[in-house]
Subunit: 527 residues, 2 copies
């Protein structure tokens, strides 16, 4: 049996505290020692990726202490419990099975009388068959014309992950002839969101995917009505243009208002649902089921690496441990995610949800307040864009912010130009490695305005190309990193009670059932 | 003469420190007292906006101390020096004149032998005339066909601000018949960025706006070549499809490779350039010069409010003061920007640059290290989307993050649906006011997992609708807020030396002139 203890009760907590600031990054990254670290501090990932942490404020002593923490906190044992179907989501008394949507890591998981792996695979097959029929023109609009566009209607995890994944592979799909349908996304209850998307598409040739687990998400149902109005106004039958992704017990299941319904369940949280039907339907329609299967394979292979007890063979666990070391002992409050890949432009927004909604908590898994800081702020934009924006603060600001770089040797389109003797891709890659060193080692200058203190830690995930497999591995890496950090902090990373209060108060406002400041604010906004 | 002193040398610094945590937000926002604060703690802005700070951790005592700080730090006097043409950018020995691109606040500013207001107005007129000729079909492609799309090629301030402004007004322009041309943006040196944009447009009917002050920005020139290659491959003459926005002394000025060149100068920094030709050319082409003029009017009117010595009549200065109080005395390290408006989806990314690049610094304007923290991390996404994402951490995480909400009574498109008795716009507005109160007052619950501590401060900018005037006012508000904070921290907010080192090292990598860790990293990325 695993033991769920608060982080500050562990022996390794004290040891790590004693090692805080024991590594001078500027020193260890200089000269040949630095070159050796770059070669040595690298861990292979799935999808052709590797995780390099040479520019983190760790050395072999810190790594030993982190390995001790991993063992003492029973990280891989807890992962094993999770994928074997324990009730890890204690608040909601649920299993946590998103890994099972892409592979089986352990025992058969039976829940609600069903083998859950078989359930997820069955839904993938149904989505694949449906997508193939749409692509072949067997499922069409009322006039018998092919659908050219797929529009996902969802919010939070039903939006951010699938949207980020679509954007990540759109150019790759174009370049490889795999773009079957263009995808768009409607999420915000702001009516201008749906109006703008509807204005940008050919509604008559669009298929809408309504995603809501409960079938009751207010934003999503509101946007569905918005879309149905638009269809009706064009003389189209909404039931011929809509599919649902929902739970089997929701009002959207077995509903003649939809061409088909694909199912998920309570064991996959929204922010972990890109590899379930939530991502699977829209991505299979956009890229074809084979591409979606490759994406799942990348995630499954990365999940396998997370089983390894050796931190030097378990990149997600190592990344988690270093992150906790930075957060709790070096005092850093935020992490910047900086992919040098335009295709990953919305990946930081997805991670922002995945990480901050999972570990932005003040109570442990038993509902008791913890005495240490937990999840950091996550933000980021693609490089090189960010270099011409907020990097000023990262380099010379008064707080240190750890950095998570991502870079690929090859572009997706493969189109490039040679300027001043180098391709754009080479310039992109040169910039990311230059940044790592600029942050780590800084630069002395008598003019303090041009002085760079250095000592600013970063890691980089390096890949050959952003393929479906690489994207799957990248996604699973961060999901597992977040999971391991939740284990260390002794949190329930899989509920989100913090989103409830706002919903309750918003309903009161709409019912005009308010007083005091809330009423005064509502009047200011004419509600 | 104004005196430039470090923040911690001021009398009001000590007074404010003594007032830290003197306000219990949960208490003061409860009951009728809370309602009174909402009515009282509101300051009008330009563009029909107002700044409401009822849910900030301030009271009349703190406000008195903040007013003393404003006076002691001579904030409005420094602003006056700035708009009258003093060398405020000490590092680069430059004037700071972005306000002059939309109005004249003080004396004539003569620099380089030119009246600068006249110079900026002349460039606006030239851009307006050019845009009108394009719209009338007097400037066309080689076949005499109208241009339908405008593509801005630029990075950093030449991209983020103009892009955010375009997105902010695109739906409004569609709804009001003001969308003359669709705009796209190419920024990243990642070749997939340009390739994806080129793939999405009709190149033969596209006009490209190359934006580089020096005419030497590597990313921008590389992307220009990329675009020129694409034009040539389609048998098109690049010189018939390109205009430049640059300085009068750059190689792009008076160059037969461009249909026209529009000028900016060294006195408007990239991140402050949306109201100059950098934003003016693309926005005049997209929306017409009249809309751009309305945007400038909104900014100019907001600039006027920043002259007021009374903090209750100067929303930008008040916002700046409260932000400094939170950063230096309450210890908050980040600020979330949360517009409840899908149209402002990229406004947080623009503010991220404007704020973090301006005030993310550790030395004062004389190049001496400061002993206090300066600019915070800025991040954000539109609501209600964010509610289903990172708000969990904002509500229940272990660190408090101040929030900057923005909300409008009316949508841009005006299309809406009535669900459960309320429109989408009403739901959007109900959500933002509900969030303010949830953050401020929290909720007791015996189940600590459902407990909300409250005490989490926010402000909200409220407007009628996101019009060109409102957008201009919003932009100028934050520019002036950042300027005032820079004055308080005694920084030079108008240079960005922190971006230089990375550029230098990237060049070394591309020249294979590296050793140690930098060489090892470069090898990992096949450079």
């Amino acid at each position: 049996m695993v033991a769920w203890n608060n982080f500050d009760t562990l022996t390794s907590y004290k040891k790590l505290a004693s090692l805080a600031n024991s590594v001078n990054l500027k020193e260890v990254m200089s000269g040949e020692n630095g070159a050796n670290r770059v070669k040595k501090y690298s861990v292979p990932m799935a999808g052709g990726l590797s995780y390099n942490f040479a520019a983190k404020q760790v050395d072999d002593d810190v790594l030993v202490a982190l390995a001790e923490l991993a063992a003492e906190a029973q990280l891989t044992e807890k992962y094993e419990e999770l994928y074997n179907g324990a009730v890890i989501n204690t608040g909601e008394k649920r299993l946590v099975l998103h890994q099972l949507s892409r592979g089986q890591l352990g025992k058969d998981v039976i829940a609600d009388g069903v083998n859950k792996r078989e359930f997820y695979v069955a839904q993938q097959k149904r989505a694949a068959e449906f997508a193939n029929r749409v692509h072949k023109g067997e499922v069409t609009n009322a006039k018998g014309e092919k659908f050219t566009t797929v529009v996902q209607i969802g919010i939070g995890g039903s939006d951010l992950g699938p949207r980020a994944m679509y954007i990540a592979l759109e150019s790759w799909a174009k370049a490889t002839g795999n773009l079957k349908m263009t995808a768009k996304f409607i999420s915000n209850v702001d009516p201008d969101d749906a109006a703008a998307v509807l204005d940008s598409i050919d509604v008559a040739h669009s298929l809408f995917v309504l995603v809501s687990k409960s079938g009751t998400t207010l934003e999503t149902l509101t946007n569905e009505s918005f879309v149905k109005d638009a269809l009706v106004k064009q003389g189209l039958d909404p039931a011929k243009h809509m599919v649902a992704v929902t739970s089997e017990t929701s009002p959207l299941a077995k509903n003649s208002g939809y061409l088909a319904a694909f199912f998920m369940d309570d064991y996959i949280g929204g922010r972990y649902s890109s590899t379930s039907a939530v991502g699977g339907v829209v991505l299979s329609l956009a890229f074809g089921p084979e591409v979606f299967a490759r994406f799942l394979n990348g995630a499954a292979a990365q999940d396998e690496t997370a089983k390894n007890k050796d931190i030097m063979k378990n990149p997600s666990m190592l990344d988690a441990l270093i992150g906790v070391y930075e957060r709790n002992f070096l005092g850093y409050t935020a992490t910047a995610v900086l992919p040098y890949s335009q295709a990953l432009s919305r990946f930081p927004a997805h991670l922002q949800q995945a990480d901050m909604e999972s570990n932005g908590k003040s109570v442990n898994r038993f509902g008791e307040p913890v005495n240490y800081v937990t999840g950091p702020v996550i933000f980021g934009e693609p490089g090189t864009n960010g270099q011409h924006s907020f990097y000023q603060l990262l380099h010379q600001g008064t707080n240190i912010i750890p950095l998570q770089f991502v870079g690929f040797k090859n572009s997706q389109f493969g189109k490039d130009v040679l300027i001043e003797g180098s391709t754009s891709q080479a310039k992109l890659c040169a910039n990311v490695v230059a940044q790592i060193m600029a942050f780590a080692c800084g630069k002395d200058d008598e003019n303090r305005n041009k002085f760079f203190a250095g000592g600013r830690p970063s890691s980089i995930i390096i890949g050959e190309q952003l393929t479906p497999e690489a994207l799957g591995a990248l996604l699973a890496h961060f999901e597992n990193k977040i999971m391991f950090q939740g284990f260390i902090w002794n949190l329930n990373s899989f509920d989100q009670e913090g989103v409830q209060l706002g919903k309750v108060l918003a309903k009161k406002v709409l019912a005009h059932n308010t007083d005091g400041a809330l009423k005064a604010y509502a009047e200011l906004l004419n509600i």
